[in-house]
Symmetry: C2
């Protein structure tokens, strides 16, 4: 039985303990400081199955652009990636921010992460035009600093 | 003549280009993704002197705790660290968030950064009680994940 709840500050410890493993060894912890688990709880969620965390999503409302929300980080347990739990977390996020007047969702991913690109496309995200093509995908060069190319997604809800 | 203005998305490129140098070679860019320069512009500022960036501050309003604001990242050009520009950016942030109903400011620093600890203490920040003492300073162990101890500051404005 899948349950979705808002994150709490103390969830940070369990998430940071598994995060590099869930990403196949890529060092991800620096990209997820605890501040997100303290200050963006209303739009950040954990999915649990029988009390065990199977996925999480960290997002927030844009403070520059009213009506926009941003998904910063999503992780799904490697054994649960075909179960639709990622999709359920996104849907939960969409509903939550829509109730707060949001109409546009943004997020990014790395060009190497084909699974993520396919996931977002299936969910109805469009890819914003970048400045180069990589394997048929439009990519924004150096988006997150030199060498950190990104695929930039946007979706109207 | 010092001028303070809100950050714009395009400032990200200039900041990310200097940030590791300003921190004496510590790799900091991963901790500052572009999202902060897109979605938290109302509470993020750049100080310029004769058109050259001398400092920046990235902060936001807590979305969990109304009345709280958080300062995520502050950088000052190494040649400008005695000029009070850091203090001026903090004061500008305090005034901005106070107008939006904030009464509490939070931020963190690394225990090794004695200059930062001294700076925040002089500005009136208190150090929250952690779980160990390091050179007379209360420190929160593994605050940002294993090995990432932090000094946790709070100030009422």
């Amino acid at each position: 039985m899948l349950q979705i709840r808002n994150v709490q500050e103390h969830d940070y410890t369990s998430i940071i303990a598994v995060i590099n493993d869930w990403w196949g060894g890529r060092p991800m912890a620096d990209m997820l400081p605890k501040l997100f688990f303290i200050h963006f709880q209303p739009t950040s969620f954990i999915a649990e199955e029988n009390g065990e965390m199977t996925a999480f999503l960290v997002g927030f409302l844009s403070q520059t652009f009213p009506g926009e929300a941003y998904i910063h980080f999503v992780g799904v347990h490697p054994d649960k990636r075909k179960d639709g739990v990622g999709r359920q977390l996104y849907q939960h996020f969409f509903e939550t921010v829509k109730q707060q007047g949001c109409h546009t969702i943004r997020c990014i991913t790395s060009p190497v992460n084909r699974t993520s690109i396919s996931f977002h496309t299936k969910l109805g995200f469009a890819i914003e035009q970048g400045d180069k093509m990589v394997d048929g995908i439009s990519v924004s060069s150096n988006y997150d600093g030199r060498g950190n190319d990104r695929v930039v997604f946007v979706k109207e809800i």
